[in-house]
C-alpha cells in the first residue's frame, strides 16, 4: 500500500516534469536518472534491511568515502589490479559492518550511537589515508565507465545503473524469499519474540550490519566509477538520503515492515527532484533539501496515520525511542 502511494507520487511527479519540459521524457534523461542515483540506490537497499530489522546505520556515507579513497590509493599508488582492490575493500567493509553489528548485539548498545561512532571512525580513517582528491586513471576504470548496454529506442544502460538494478533485484529476493529475509522482518517486529521463536538473533543482527556495510562498499565502488576519483569528503550525508529514500518508499522506521522496491522508487523520487531543479535552472539547489524534507514529513505522517488506524487502541509513548 505505501509502495503504491510512493509509485503514484513518482509517476505523477514524472508526468508533471514531462509536461513542463518536453525533453524530460527522453531515454537519455531516464537512464541518467538511474546512473546518477546508482550509488544511492545500492546503499538504500542495505539501509532498508537495517531499518526493517529495527536498527539504523549512520556510517554508510563514511564507508562510501573510505572506499573511494582506499580504491584510489590501492589502484593508483600501490598498483593493485582494480578487481583485487574491489575484493579487498569489500572484505574490509564487511568486517567493519560485522564489528558494528557485534557491538550492537553483544554489548546491547543502541544501533544509532554505535554506527555514529562507526561514521567517525570510517571518515577519520579516510582522512588519514588522504585528504586530497585522487584521480583514478587505470584503463580498466575508463573502460567500465564507457561500457554500456544499448537498447532499442536510445536507452543506454551504464555499468553503475546495472549494478544498482542487480543489487535491487537480489536485495528484493534476499529480503522477500529467503529465511534470512524472514528473520530480518521478525527481528523488526520484536527481538524478544524472534529470540523465543528460535531465530539466531545475534547472528542475524551481525549479518544485517555486515550486509549494509558491504553494500556501502559496493556503493563506494560505483561512486568511484562515476567520479573516476577517490576523495575522503565524498558522499557526506548520504546516510540521510538513504534513510529518507527508505522512508519515502514505505519502510517503517519502527521496523518490521518495508520493501526493497519501495526504497528504489524513493531513490528515483529524490533523483527526480534533483533533475527537475537542474532542468528548471531558476530554482536553487536548496529547494531539493526542502522538498525532500516535505516529502519525508508527508510520508511519515501517512505512516503514523495508517499505524493509528491499524492498531486503534494503541498506548501512547511520547518522547520514547522505540527499540
Amino acid at each position: 500500500m505505501p509502495v503504491v502511494a510512493t509509485t503514484i507520487v513518482f509517476v505523477v511527479g514524472f508526468a508533471i516534469c514531462a509536461l513542463t519540459y518536453p525533453n524530460f521524457a527522453s531515454p537519455r534523461v531516464v537512464m541518467n536518472l538511474l546512473t546518477d542515483n546508482a550509488f544511492l540506490g545500492v546503499v538504500g537497499v542495505g539501509m532498508t534491511f537495517v531499518i526493517i530489522s529495527g536498527g539504523i546505520d549512520l556510517s554508510v556515507g563514511s564507508v562510501i568515502g573510505f572506499t573511494t579513497v582506499f580504491l584510489a590509493l590501492a589502484i593508483e599508488r600501490a598498483g593493485m589490479p582494480p578487481l583485487v582492490a574491489f575484493a579487498a575493500v569489500l572484505l574490509l567493509c564487511a568486517l567493519f559492518g560485522a564489528l558494528m553489528g557485534a557491538a550492537i548485539q553483544y554489548f546491547e548498545l543502541p544501533a544509532f550511537i554505535v554506527t555514529l561512532a562507526g561514521m567517525f571512525l570510517a571518515r577519520g580513517a579516510s582522512f588519514l589515508l588522504s585528504t586530497e582528491s585522487i584521480p583514478i586513471t587505470a584503463p580498466f576504470y575508463s573502460e567500465l565507465a564507457e561500457h554500456a548496454l544499448s537498447f532499442p529506442g536510445g536507452f543506454r544502460l551504464t555499468v553503475p545503473a546495472m549494478i544498482m538494478l542487480a543489487t535491487v533485484a537480489s536485495g528484493a529476493v534476499l529480503l522477500h524469499f529467503t529465511r534470512f529475509g524472514a528473520n530480518v522482518y521478525a527481528l523488526g517486529g520484536s527481538r524478544g519474540s524472534a529470540a523465543l521463536m528460535g531465530i539466531g538473533v545475534g547472528r542475524t543482527t551481525v549479518l544485517i550490519y555486515m550486509l549494509s556495510s558491504l553494500l556501502a562498499g559496493v556503493s563506494g565502488i560505483v561512486f568511484s566509477l562515476y567520479t573516476s576519483s577517490g576523495y575522503s569528503l565524498s558522499a557526506v550525508g548520504i546516510e540521510l538520503d538513504a534513510i529518507a529514500a527508505a522512508v519515502i518508499g514505505g519502510t517503517l522506521l519502527s521496523g518490521g515492515y518495508g520493501f526493497v522496491f519501495g526504497t528504489f522508487v524513493g531513490v528515483l523520487i529524490q533523483g527526480l527532484i534533483q533533475t527537475y531543479i537542474s532542468f528548471d535552472g531558476m530554482l536553487s539547489s536548496w529547494w531539493a533539501k526542502i522538498a525532500t524534507g516535505l516529502l519525508l514529513f508527508g510520508f511519515i505522517t501517512l505512516q503514523q496515520l495508517m499505524l493509528a488506524l491499524a492498531r486503534r487502541p494503541r498506548p501512547r509513548l511520547s518522547g520514547a525511542v522505540q527499540r
Binding site: L121, F127, G293, L317, Q322
Partner: protein, 332 residues
C-alpha cells in the same frame, strides 16, 4: 531527590568527568608548556584555557539543550540545522535592524523549530530520530533559502560583540553559556521539572498514567533545545561576523550528543546532568585543542572522538555493568 534541589554544586557523580578533564589539561600543558598560562590584557583574560572555554561554548549550549531531550529518551538531530537557520536570520537582519529585533527573531525561529520537533514527537508520536531528521534535512535548505546561498556578512558591532566581545574579563560566549546553564539549573532542578523529565524517560506511559503532563513537557523540552541551538547559532555567526548556511553547525549535533553522553546521561533515558553535559562539551573541546597542540594531523580528531564514544558506550553497556559504575559514580 530533595537533597539535589537548588544545588548549584557539581553532582557527586561527576568525578570521572572532572578527572578526565584534568588529565586532558595535564596532557595539553605537557604538550605545550604555555597551555595553563593566563594573562590579563585590556581588562580581559587571555590564554589557551579561556580559548577552550570560548570555542567550547556553542557545543556546550547545544549539549545544554540536548541533555533533557536525551533524558526523555529522545534525540534532536536538527540542532545543527537550527544553528544555521538562526545564524542566517541574525546575519541577514543585523545591519538593518536593532539588536533586540535581530536576537528576538533569531531566537524565535529556534523556538519555532523546537516546537515543530516537539509537536511531531509528542502529538504525532513519531520517533524522535525520524521527527528531527525532517528538520535536519529541510532546515539547512531553509537556511540557504534565507541567505540565498551566499555567505552573508555583517558589520553591526552589537551582534559581533556577542561572538567576540568580553564581559567581566571573560569572552561573551562563555558568559552566555554560564547564564543559560544557571537558568536551566534553576528551572529544572529548582522545581520538580527535572524529576518529571527523568520520569518520562524512565517510562513515558507510566508517567502519563501517573498524571505527568507528558505531552506538554515533551514539547517544552524540544522547544528549549531549539532555543539553545538558536543561541549557539547566533554566537557562531557573531564570531565570524557572517553566516554560512552550508557549514554553520555542520556535524555539531554529533558533538552535542557526544558531550551529553560523556556527561553520563544515559541514551536509554531516565537521568541527566546539565553541569556534566557542559563539562562533556569542554572535554571534547580540550581534546580538539590537545590534538592540534600535539602536532598530530587534525584528521586524527574524528578517530579520537570515535574511540572516546566507543569507550564511554562500553562503560555504559548493560553487559559491562561493573565498568559502568565508573561513569555512574556513587549512584546505585
Amino acid at each position: 531527590m530533595p537533597g539535589k534541589a537548588m544545588s548549584l554544586a557539581l553532582p557527586r557523580s561527576g568525578l570521572p568527568q572532572i578527572v578526565a578533564l584534568i588529565v586532558i589539561f595535564a596532557i595539553n600543558s605537557f604538550l605545550s608548556p604555555h597551555f595553563l598560562e593566563l594573562r590579563v590584557q585590556d581588562g580581559r583574560l587571555f590564554g589557551s584555557l579561556v580559548d577552550v572555554l570560548n570555542r567550547g561554548a556553542p557545543v556546550a549550549l547545544l549539549a545544554l539543550g540536548m541533555a533533557p531531550v536525551i533524558a526523555m529518551r529522545g534525540i534532536d538531530l536538527s540542532v545543527g540545522a537550527v544553528m544555521a537557520i538562526a545564524g542566517a536570520i541574525a546575519a541577514s537582519l543585523a545591519d538593518s535592524h536593532a539588536l533586540a529585533i535581530v536576537l528576538a527573531s533569531a531566537l524565535g525561529a529556534g523556538l519555532l523549530c523546537g516546537l515543530w520537533n516537539g509537536v511531531l514527537v509528542a502529538l504525532l508520536s513519531i520517533q524522535p530520530i525520524v521527527a528531527t531528521l525532517i528538520l535536519m534535512v529541510a532546515g539547512r535548505g531553509v537556511a540557504q533559502l534565507i541567505t540565498e546561498g551566499r555567505i552573508v556578512t555583517f558589520a553591526a558591532p552589537g551582534l559581533a560583540w556577542l561572538g567576540s566581545g568580553s564581559l567581566l574579563g571573560l569572552p561573551t560566549p562563555v558568559i552566555l553559556t554560564l547564564v543559560m546553564l544557571a537558568v536551566a539549573l534553576l528551572v529544572v532542578r529548582g522545581s520538580a521539572l527535572g524529576l518529571l523529565i527523568e520520569a518520562i524517560g524512565g517510562n513515558g506511559r507510566a508517567s502519563a498514567l501517573a498524571g505527568v503532563g507528558t505531552r506538554a513537557i515533551t514539547i517544552a523540552v524540544y522547544a528549549w533545545c531549539g532555543l539553545c541551538a538558536a543561541l549557539a547559532g547566533i554566537i557562531a555567526a557573531a564570531d565570524i561576523r557572517g553566516a554560512d548556511a552550508n557549514n554553520a553547525g555542520l556535524w555539531l549535533e554529533l558533538d552535542a550528543i557526544l558531550a551529553v553522553v560523556i556527561g553520563g546521561t544515559s541514551l536509554l533515558g531516565g537521568r541527566f546532568s546539565l553541569v556534566l553535559a557542559v563539562l562533556g562539551a569542554l572535554i571534547i573541546q580540550a581534546m580538539n585543542t590537545g590534538i592540534l597542540l600535539s602536532g598530530f594531523p587534525p584528521e586524527m580528531n574524528l578517530i579520537v572522538k570515535a574511540i572516546v564514544v566507543l569507550a564511554v558506550l562500553l562503560a555504559q553497556s548493560p553487559r559491562l555493568a561493573g565498568l559502568g559504575f565508573l561513569l555512574r559514580g556513587a549512584r546505585p
